[in-house]
């Protein structure tokens, strides 16, 4: 019987028919999606922290308004995604708990510090650029609520990347100090961004199943190569360079070759030993705990209003 269900399920996926929350699905599919979507949601929420760092210090009002809007978008993206994950049967509180206890991961990129204003530019161009590369195929995810959430996310994400590029472009055309600041930010954010696509294909055991279930449409290495190809061209417009001596156009493959990735660094950050892992988690937990009285007050107020209404009705 189980077998039949599984066949019907795979048949739907193969025909590009979306799976909806109430449809039968393999338990592993459900668990994989819960992990992936909640991890994605956590990344949006934690992703606000490195940028929030610069809201009060944005160089002018225009930049400040833009950065505020961007950070607000990230909060929105987190909420779309948490809701999508909840349709699979996990509660919001469970997900928060997994984040706050360190059980759930979020994208390692947010464990790097934002040292200068140029970092906001580099994050927009590289980090959001890599995120978009990952996210566009997710709009065709086999799971309906995830796909629909991603359509909204992708629509909004494009401004994030453009504003980042604009920041770097402005700096690169500025004084020597500003140029250096831009180059330094690109130097620091490039490799972590390249790592954002995750482990190499032959070390990514879940890829095969995720591709079969159409949770994933491209492999990590395919997306990474696409990202490198695009950035290698875009960096020329900035008049900056990418910190990779092995970066070179390869006419035979029609792609850019690039240098070796420091996977030790990648796994160290994943394991919690990145420069800001502890700080991010502490900030996030503090925000949640400090907000407790607001949530309690809102509940109390709603209760009071409900009682008032009941008295009036009686």
């Amino acid at each position: 019987m189980e077998k039949d269900f599984e066949e019907i399920f795979q048949d739907k996926v193969d025909k590009e028919i979306k799976i909806e929350p109430k449809d039968w699905m393999p338990e592993k599919y459900r668990q994989t999606l819960i992990r992936q979507i909640s991890q994605h949601a956590h990344s949006e929420i934690v992703g606000m922290l490195p940028e929030g760092n610069w809201i009060t210090r944005a160089p002018n009002l225009r930049r400040k308004a833009i950065l505020l809007a961007k950070v607000q978008d990230e909060a929105g993206h987190g909420l779309y995604l948490y809701s999508a994950a909840e349709t699979l049967g996990i509660t919001r509180d469970e997900m928060y708990d997994q984040l706050h206890t360190g059980k759930a991961k979020y994208s390692s990129i947010f464990n790097y510090p934002t040292l200068t204003w140029a970092d906001i530019g580099a994050i927009g161009w590289l980090v959001d650029g890599a995120a978009i590369m990952n996210q566009v195929p997710l709009c065709r995810s086999s799971f309906g609520p995830y796909a629909r959430a991603m359509v909204r996310v992708c629509k909004e994400e494009s401004f994030h990347q453009r504003q980042g590029f604009e920041i770097l472009l402005t700096l690169s055309k500025g004084t020597e100090a500003q140029r250096n600041m831009a180059q330094d930010a690109v130097n620091r954010w490039w490799w972590p961004s390249v790592m954002m696509f995750g482990p190499k294909d032959d070390e990514s055991p879940n890829t095969i199943m995720s591709m079969k279930w159409k949770i994933k449409r491209f492999t990590n290495d395919e997306l990474r190569q696409k990202f490198v190809d695009i950035c290698a061209e875009q960096v020329k417009i900035l008049g900056l360079t990418l910190p990779d001596n092995d970066l070179k156009w390869n006419a035979a493959t029609n792609h850019y070759d690039f240098g070796a990735i420091d996977w030790n660094e990648f796994w160290e950050v994943v394991k919690g030993n990145g420069p800001c892992n502890k700080q991010r988690l502490d900030t996030r937990k503090k925000a949640w705990e400090d907000g407790a009285w607001v949530r309690e007050a809102a509940s109390a107020y709603a209760e009071k209003r409900k009682n008032k209404k009941a008295v009036k009705a009686a």
């Binding site: 039968w24 929105g76 909420l79 809701s83 909840e86 349709t87 509660t91 509180d93 809102a298």
Partner: protein, 101 residues
């Protein structure tokens, strides 16, 4: 929309959000969010789902009030319409010279 109800947790109830994107169009489901009551759900929906002028009107419905058909019944439920092609105008073979119909 979720399949489970968070009955005993301290979580705020879940609300389904419907947005009318332009006057004259119908409200369309866009997603869900948690809120203590309807008013807060509408205010939060404004922030979460209409940051770029996506809407001119918002409906919120507490998720527990939504009742859905069962996907497992889909065959029995929708198939009876399969063999009734005569309900569609293209079913009828009429002469080409017939105009305005």
């Amino acid at each position: 929309m979720t399949t489970n109800e968070h009955i005993n947790s301290g979580e705020w109830p879940l609300w389904e959000i419907f947005i009318r994107s332009r006057q004259g169009l119908d409200h369309k489901h866009v997603g869900s969010l948690h809120a203590v009551d309807a008013q807060m759900a509408i205010e939060n929906a404004r922030d979460v789902y209409t940051r770029r002028m996506e809407g001119v009107s918002i409906w919120v419905v507490e998720s527990k009030h939504i009742h859905a058909s069962n996907p497992a019944d889909a065959e029995a439920f929708y198939d009876p319409a399969n063999d009734k092609a005569y309900r569609h105008p293209t079913f009828y073979n009429l002469p080409d010279e017939l105009k305005h119909m």
